[in-house]
């Protein structure tokens, strides 16, 4: 598995080359280095994937590991920098390098006029490097390197246009909120180490599989890992950073804040699935938080007018679905949704980027409209993305969402109903976005209208590829009910084997499954039509920002005032505490006490100070001589 190291190293080399030569290389060189390294990494990943695939074909576990060197050791703690390739990480490899390459390619055109062109590509490559570490790590600590590393890249790229202080603040917010989750991750690592004596997946997970269900240690570990996941994957209560992260350039939103990094939390749980399966309480928490996030974010997305904000909340909502899937034990389903979501959400973000590009950086949908004719490729591909995410068959999103909802149905009807309502909202806000952007009359300025143009090939080709994937992606794991072979489930089987053995299995009559599918597909179509009626037929344009909205709409529009609430409950009290600690406790109380005690000494010191007003050099000279004399006294005379 020597190629493995190069998969990881190539993007790092790209980062170093573009980072150091950012003022030297031409944009062509930068693009070649930036895209080339990721493409090479993708090709190598394909090779690795085919090996894993071949091994799975003949029924092997297909788990390969490779140790690079021992990284940290102290006593019984040994952490290797080592990699693990198995079906789960092999799929992630393809997503990261594949979609990563498409987005790199897209960026060569999207970022063409930006002064920080080389810097941008350096950061993107660095991100790919860390993301690969995250999924390839064979233990929790290497995973943590990637985990925090992608957080850093996210910070750098959200604050890419750092002269805007609000963008810089959004970057900081993302980093800090992620760090809250990261503390959970660290604590989970500590617990794992002291309970399993190792941090390698290959040592921890089989051992955990022999433990009893409901073990309190496992409960604690799994809850802490979930805390980590809520940070990285933007779940309640740590989700508010993701919408703000839209301050970054749009390709970043597509790559980091939709397709890859934010799914790291799902990857973490899928990887540790046995720890969760053995902790039913955590599973319930995961399912409920996931569903609540899915609903809350979907509800907010309905009234947003910034095209990227709609997609951001949509991402939060879709991530919620994935957690719902995990929580009801649909590990394959959740991971399936990670894949399909990577296709269609990357597509939608890149499409939005194409629109923004065409509209001279306009992001407000109220100033768009009627772009269908002017941006035919963008429109068509985004239309496909919208249909896919809305859960309309036979596109990708339908199958993955269906699998999650079917499992939820078995677990509890209430979870299914919640998921179903969320799906209604999803279909509505996505079509609302599509119609507001592409249908009706053009509502922008005359200047904008003059400049509107379809994006260049470098941008439209990735859109087309992603659109194709969004159409056929569902085929990866066709359900048995539809005569499919559940190929993905078969492929991933060794990863989830222990969990599957413990669960009662997936038993749902085919007629019930057909019914559920039919209901959700029909509902999605109805919501699409409803959106059509509102935003095309009636040509409603959302009101201005300051306009007073009615009840729930007001709440939705202002994102339930969650940021304001956090500010009042956490930020402000902490700032006040800081001021109090500094001005009162530190200066007055503690230092006051010190001064009080020291007053006598200070007076004495003042007297001594009178002796110290001569030539400094002389004093030092005396001191040095004195020391040497003292030493000499000891060494020679005695």
């Amino acid at each position: 598995m020597t190629g493995l190291i190069w998969i990881v190293l190539l993007p790092l080399i790209g980062f170093v080359v573009n980072g150091l030569g950012r003022n030297v290389w031409s944009k062509t060189v930068v693009s070649l280095v930036g895209c080339g390294t990721v493409l090479a990494s993708f090709l190598l990943s394909c090779n690795v994937f085919s090996m894993v695939y071949a091994a799975r074909k003949v029924g092997e576990q297909a788990s390969f590991s490779h140790t690079v060197f021992e990284w940290i050791s102290a006593g019984s703690l040994h952490v290797n920098l080592s990699f693990l390739v198995d079906p789960l990480s092999a799929v992630m490899l393809l997503i990261i390098t594949g979609i990563g390459f498409l987005i790199h390619l897209y960026s060569t055109a999207y970022m063409k006029h930006d002064k920080g062109f080389a810097k941008f590509f350096a950061y993107l490559n660095l991100f790919i490097f860390f993301m690969l570490l995250l999924v390839l790590g064979s233990n929790y600590v290497v995973m943590f390197i990637g985990w925090e590393g992608v957080g850093l890249c996210s910070y750098l790229l959200i604050g890419f246009w750092y002269h805007r202080i609000d963008y810089a603040a959004a970057a900081k917010k993302a980093f800090v909120m992620n760090r809250i989750g990261d503390l959970g991750f660290l604590l989970a690592i500590f617990l794992l180490f002291y309970n399993f004596g190792s941090l390698e997946f290959s040592a921890v997970l089989p051992k955990a599989a022999t433990m009893v269900q409901g073990d309190t240690t496992l409960l604690l570990i799994s809850l802490l890992l979930f805390v980590a996941a809520t940070g990285k994957s933007a779940q309640i209560p740590l989700f508010t950073w993701l919408p703000d992260a839209m301050a970054g350039p749009t390709p970043v939103s597509a790559l980091i804040h939709a397709a890859t990094m934010v799914t790291a939390g799902i990857y973490l749980i899928a990887r540790s699935n046995i720890l969760f399966t053995l902790s039913p309480v955590t599973m319930e928490v995961v399912a409920i938080i996931g569903l609540a996030t899915a609903l809350l974010a979907a509800f907010i997305a309905v009234t947003q007018n910034d095209i990227k904000k709609v997609l951001a909340y949509s991402t939060v909502s879709q991530l919620g679905y994935m957690f719902l899937g995990l929580g009801v034990g649909a590990f394959t389903g959740a991971f399936f949704h990670v894949i399909t979501h990577a296709f269609f959400k990357a597509l939608l973000f890149l499409g939005a980027g194409s629109v923004i590009h065409a509209m001279s950086n306009e992001q407000d949908m109220r100033a768009m409209g009627g772009l269908k004719k002017k941006l035919p490729v963008t429109f068509l591909t985004m239309f496909i993305g919208t249909v896919a995410i809305a859960g309309i068959p036979p596109l990708a999103g339908f199958f993955s969402k269906d699998e999650i909802l079917a499992h939820a149905f078995i677990q509890s009807k209430a979870l299914w109903i919640g998921g179903f309502i969320g799906a209604l909202f999803t279909a509505f806000y996505m079509f609302r976005m599509l119609f507001l952007t592409f249908y009706g009359k053009f509502r922008g300025t005359f200047e904008q209208e003059k400049h509107v143009h379809e994006s260049p090939m470098a941008m439209t080709v990735p859109l087309m590829i992603l659109a194709i994937l969004s159409v056929i992606g569902g085929g990866l794991n066709l359900p048995e009910a539809l005569g499919g072979s559940t190929a993905l489930a078969q492929f991933l089987a060794p990863v989830f084997a222990d969990s599957v053995a413990l669960s009662e299995g997936f038993h749902l009559a085919h007629t019930t499954e057909f019914l559920l599918m039919g209901v959700s597909a029909l509902a999605a179509i109805v919501m699409a039509i409803y959106a059509y009626v509102l935003y095309v037929r009636k040509a409603i344009v959302p009101g201005a920002d300051h306009e007073k909205r009615k009840g729930l709409a007001q709440l939705s529009y202002h994102k339930f005032y969650i940021d304001e609430w956090y500010h009042a409950m956490i930020t402000k009290p902490l700032n006040n505490l800081s001021t109090f600690c500094f001005k009162i406790l530190d200066k007055k109380v503690i230092d006051g006490l010190v001064n009080y005690i020291g007053n006598g000494a200070t007076r004495a010191g003042n007297v001594i100070r009178l002796l110290q007003q001569g030539n400094i050099g002389f004093y030092i000279f005396c001191m040095v001589i004195g020391i040497i004399a003292l030493l000499a006294y000891g060494l020679y005379i005695v």
Binding site: W71, F582, I620
Partner: protein
């Protein structure tokens, strides 16, 4: 040769300091001092190569010094002192280089070298009296450096610093003398002190006498109030010496002297010390939140970071102690990096007030990148040095329970809050009048930053050689000294 390397290490700075006091021009002075420090660094590397990473004391030298009192000039290094010797001798050249664009004269540099000898004496002394001598010797030059070249209110603040730390060390002196009176062979040998089996009550007193001295030096909450003021008024060189190297005297003192000598005292009061250390982490971080003066902000951050190191020491297990050893080095590197960046900013913008700064990343991208990497090291991002240290410390602290680990672990969140706030306030946003004409870092300043960055990343990727130096010695110490 090997036999005299250690003695030479102590003597070279001292001897060079003498002629330096008379050099009035700046350039010859700084070069002389720098060359001397490089020679010392070279000797240290030789020492490092010859060092066998086992638990023994090596390069030991012992002379009778004041026989009437049983005082010996006894020095040597083991895996616990060698990293600190290395830290001192590696940072001093960097600190000297960082002054190359200033116009200090010979007396300034003489003080720095003089201090180097004092510090090295502290880290190599195996005789308690000698340790005490080094302890005070290191204090005198830094007092002058801060008191003569410092900023506003320097006289009042440095005097307070001097008296505060000095009174702490007097307590330690009393304890040392008391221990001496208990030693049957009437000497100050560290081994003799280790072998004393005093009763619990006496060890309790010994504990507090040493603890207060060391806690003031580091400083630990609530003995810290001298520190922010002193760091702020001291010239950057002084701040670097204080924070980069000198405070490690306190941590080293805990490991080398306090815990092995008074284990029963630690049994009784170690919990209080641990609690204070952890409170300090959170308290100092919270105070750092709202600081506008970036030098003061870093000063408070240092209290938080040292709090974690001290917590690791008091938890006393292989992970936490190895973490403490490594983090002492890391903290030294990172904190002088931070103070140097602040100095570079101050030189041009003539302010260290966050509100008047901002947007420097635009005119000075190299400085911005360097600052970012140092900040990342300070907040312990993986693949920087800080992560290895924090990870080992926290996983060690966890052995004291999950709550100590949770509270100590808050540092990774709080640290990110105040450090990134500082970075944003200084580097990001729009440029203003003060920062518009900012020139990027270059020449010797760039060299200093470059070395710091290489160290931060190299240790973060491959910490093993450093961990290896101390592993055997720490393991043996833990075997020998057990609590409860």
């Amino acid at each position: 040769m090997d036999n005299f390397v250690l003695l030479l290490l102590l003597l070279v700075p001292l001897i060079v300091a003498i002629p330096l006091t008379m050099v009035k021009q700046s350039n010859p002075a700084k070069w002389l001092a720098f060359i001397a420090s490089i020679v010392v660094l070279g000797l240290t590397i030789q020492l490092l190569i010859a060092f066998v990473p086992d638990a023994s004391i090596q390069f030991e030298e012992k002379f009778s010094w004041i026989p009437a009192l049983g005082i010996q000039f006894h020095i040597g290094v083991d895996g616990i002192s060698l990293p600190l010797v290395l830290l001192t001798n590696a940072l001093i050249p960097l600190i000297l280089l960082s002054t190359f664009r200033k116009t200090y004269k010979g007396n300034f540099y003489a003080l720095v070298l003089f201090m180097q000898t004092g510090l090295l004496l502290v880290f190599t002394a195996l005789d308690a009296f000698l340790f005490y001598v080094g302890w005070e010797l290191a204090l005198i030059p830094i007092y002058f450096i801060c008191g003569l070249w410092g900023g506003q209110n320097k006289a009042r603040i440095t005097l307070k610093f001097f008296i505060y730390t000095f009174s702490g060390s007097l307590l330690m002196l009393i304890a040392i003398i008391y221990l001496y009176t208990q030693v049957p062979t009437a000497d100050y040998e560290w081994r003799s002190f280790y072998e004393l089996a005093l009763d619990g009550k006496t060890q309790g007193y010994i504990f507090w006498a040493f603890f207060i001295a060391f806690a003031i030096k580091m400083p630990l909450f609530p003995f810290h109030t001298w520190q922010p003021d002193t760091y702020v008024v001291a010239p950057t060189t002084g701040t670097m010496l204080l924070s980069g190297i000198m405070l490690k005297m306190g941590v080293y003192g805990l490991i080398r002297w306090l815990l092995p000598i008074a284990p029963l005292g630690v049994n009784q009061y170690g919990g209080i010390a641990l609690t204070l250390a952890i409170i300090g982490i959170i308290y100092a971080s919270i105070v750092a939140f709202k600081q506008q003066d970036i030098k003061r902000l870093v000063a408070y951050s240092s209290i938080a970071h040292v709090g974690l190191i001290a917590a690791g020491v008091f938890v006393w297990n292989i992970q936490s102690l190895q973490g403490a050893m490594l983090q002492m080095i890391n903290h030294g590197i990172n904190v002088i990096g931070l103070f140097f960046v602040i100095e570079l900013i101050y030189r041009q913008a003539e302010t260290q007030d966050m509100q008047s700064l901002g947007g420097i990343a635009k005119p000075a991208p190299k400085l911005a990148i360097a600052f970012l990497i140092i900040v990342l090291g300070a907040i312990g991002l993986p693949l920087t040095n800080g992560f290895i240290g924090e990870f080992l410390l926290l996983i060690g602290v966890y052995q004291a329970g999950i709550w100590p680990a949770v509270f100590a672990g808050l540092t990774i969140i709080l640290g990110a809050v105040y450090m990134l706030r500082m970075y944003q306030g200084v580097m990001l946003g729009e440029i203003n009048q003060k920062t518009a004409d900012f020139k990027d870092v270059s020449g010797v300043d760039l060299l200093v930053l470059g070395v710091i960055l290489v160290l931060i990343i190299a240790i973060g990727i491959y910490p093993k050689p450093l961990l290896h130096i101390s592993e055997a010695a720490v393991t043996q110490l833990i075997e020998q000294v057990k609590f409860n």
